[in-house]
Symmetry: C2
Subunit: 233 residues, 2 copies
C-alpha cells in the first residue's frame, strides 16, 4: 500500500473488540421480555425503526439505544407496559454499559508491530463518549494509541475535521474498520486510504451492498493482513 501513510486509525467496535453481538443479544432479550405483552411479532424491526427515528437527536450508543427500547416498549404495548418491564429494560441497558471488553484475536500483535514501525495510531469511533473511553481503557490497548477520537458520526466532514486538527494530509491517512459505510466510503471520498475487515455481523444501518473499486481501498479477511498491505510481512 501507499508508502505515504503515516497515521493509521482504527475503528473500535467490531474492529478492535466485540460489540454488535451484544446489541443483537440485547435486542433478542428485549423481544423476549416484550413478547407476552404485544401482538406485534416484529419487535426487533419496530425497535430498529424507533432507533433510526431517534438517531438525529440521540446519536449512536447504548444510552440512546436504551431510550429507544423504552419508547418501543411503550408503543407496542399500547398503554399496558408493566412497570417491572421498564425496570428490566433499564437494567438491560446498564448491563451493556458494564460489559467487559473482549479484544479481538490478533489485534494487539498488529498494534505492537505498527508502533514499532513508528506509525501514529489512532482510535476513531462513534458512540457514547464515556462508554467508548471506558472500553479503550478496559481493553488495555490505550498505550498504543496517540489519540482517541470519539465522533458523533463518521461522515466525510467528521473525518476532514480529524485530519485538519492533527495536520494530517488525506494521503497520509489509513482508516481500518468493519463498516464500509462509516469507516471506508467517507475516507476514500476525501482522498484517504481505507481497509475493510468484516465482522461476523453488521448492523442493518451500516449495511452497504458493494465493495468500492478504488486504488486506495483494500479488503481484508483478518486484522493480521494489515501487516501485509503495509509491506511489513
Amino acid at each position: 500500500m501507499n508508502k505515504n501513510i503515516k497515521v493509521i486509525a482504527f475503528d473500535a467496535d467490531d474492529t478492535l473488540w466485540d460489540n454488535e453481538i451484544y446489541f443483537r443479544e440485547a435486542e433478542h432479550e428485549f423481544a423476549t421480555l416484550l413478547e407476552p405483552y404485544t401482538h406485534n411479532r416484529n419487535i426487533v424491526e419496530a425497535l430498529f425503526k424507533t432507533e433510526l427515528q431517534n438517531l438525529p437527536i440521540y446519536g449512536y450508543g447504548i444510552k440512546g439505544f436504551t431510550l429507544s427500547m423504552i419508547e418501543t416498549a411503550t408503543e407496542l404495548t399500547h398503554g399496558d407496559l408493566p412497570p417491572a418491564l421498564t425496570k428490566q429494560i433499564l437494567e438491560l441497558g446498564k448491563s451493556m454499559l458494564n460489559r467487559p471488553v473482549t479484544v479481538l484475536e490478533g489485534v494487539e500483535s498488529v498494534l505492537q508491530q505498527l508502533r514499532q514501525q513508528d506509525y501514529k495510531l489512532m482510535v476513531a469511533t462513534k458512540g457514547d463518549l464515556l462508554d467508548q473511553q471506558r472500553k479503550v481503557q478496559q481493553s488495555q490497548l490505550k498505550s498504543y494509541f496517540h489519540h482517541v477520537e470519539v465522533m458523533s458520526d463518521k461522515k466525510e466532514d467528521n473525518y476532514q475535521l480529524i485530519l485538519h486538527q492533527h495536520t494530517i494530509a488525506a494521503g497520509e491517512f489509513l482508516m481500518i474498520g468493519n463498516s464500509l459505510k462509516s469507516d471506508v466510503l467517507p475516507v476514500l471520498n476525501i482522498g484517504g486510504h481505507a481497509a475493510h475487515i468484516p465482522y461476523s455481523i453488521t448492523w442493518m444501518h451500516e449495511h452497504v451492498d458493494q465493495l468500492p473499486v478504488n486504488p486506495n481501498f483494500r479488503s481484508l479477511k483478518h486484522i493480521s493482513e494489515v501487516m501485509d498491505i503495509m509491506g511489513l510481512k
Copy 2:
C-alpha cells in the same frame, strides 16, 4: 492577567448559553408529572440521588438524565408507574434535546474581540457529544473557535490531555466557566489560569463553597470583564 496566555477555553453550558435553567424546569415538570402517583414529597432529591448513582456509567448529559428520570419514576411509584407517564418523560427528555440555544448577553462581543487579538479560542465542555455539537452549531458561535472539545469529565487528567494534544503549556492556558469545581479548580491545580463567572443557578453536584486563593485565578461578574483581565480595555 498573565501575558503568556495564548489559548482561552470557554465552558459552554451556562457560560456561553443557558443550560441549567432547562434542567431545573425539567426537574420541576418531572415532579409535577409524578406527584399524583407517589407519596414521596422529595421527588427532585430522589432524582438527584439516582443521577449521582448513575453518573459513573451514564456520564453527563440529557440522555443519562432522561434514563435517570425513568428509573426514579419506576422506583417512586413502586410498580404502579402509568405507561403514559413513561412516554411523557421520554418526551420531556426529547424536548430538552430539541431546545433552541440562547447565547448569553455579551458573549459574542467578547469572542469577537479576543479573536481580533489573535488568541486561540476553544470550547471545553462536558455532556452528550452530539448534543453539545448541536448547541455549538446552533449558537452560531462556531466560527470563533479553533477547536471544540467535548469531555467525558472535567478533572485534572482531562485538562492535561487537552493541553498535551494541542501542545499548550499550562501557563499559556486560561479556562473561563461558571463551575468552580469543573472549570476552575482542576485547571488551577495543573498550573493553568482560570476565571469564574457565576451563572444565576448552580447544579448541586457542581457546588463548591469557597473561592480559591491563587494568583492565577480571577472572579468575574460578567463575561465582558474578560476584556479587563486580559488588559484589552
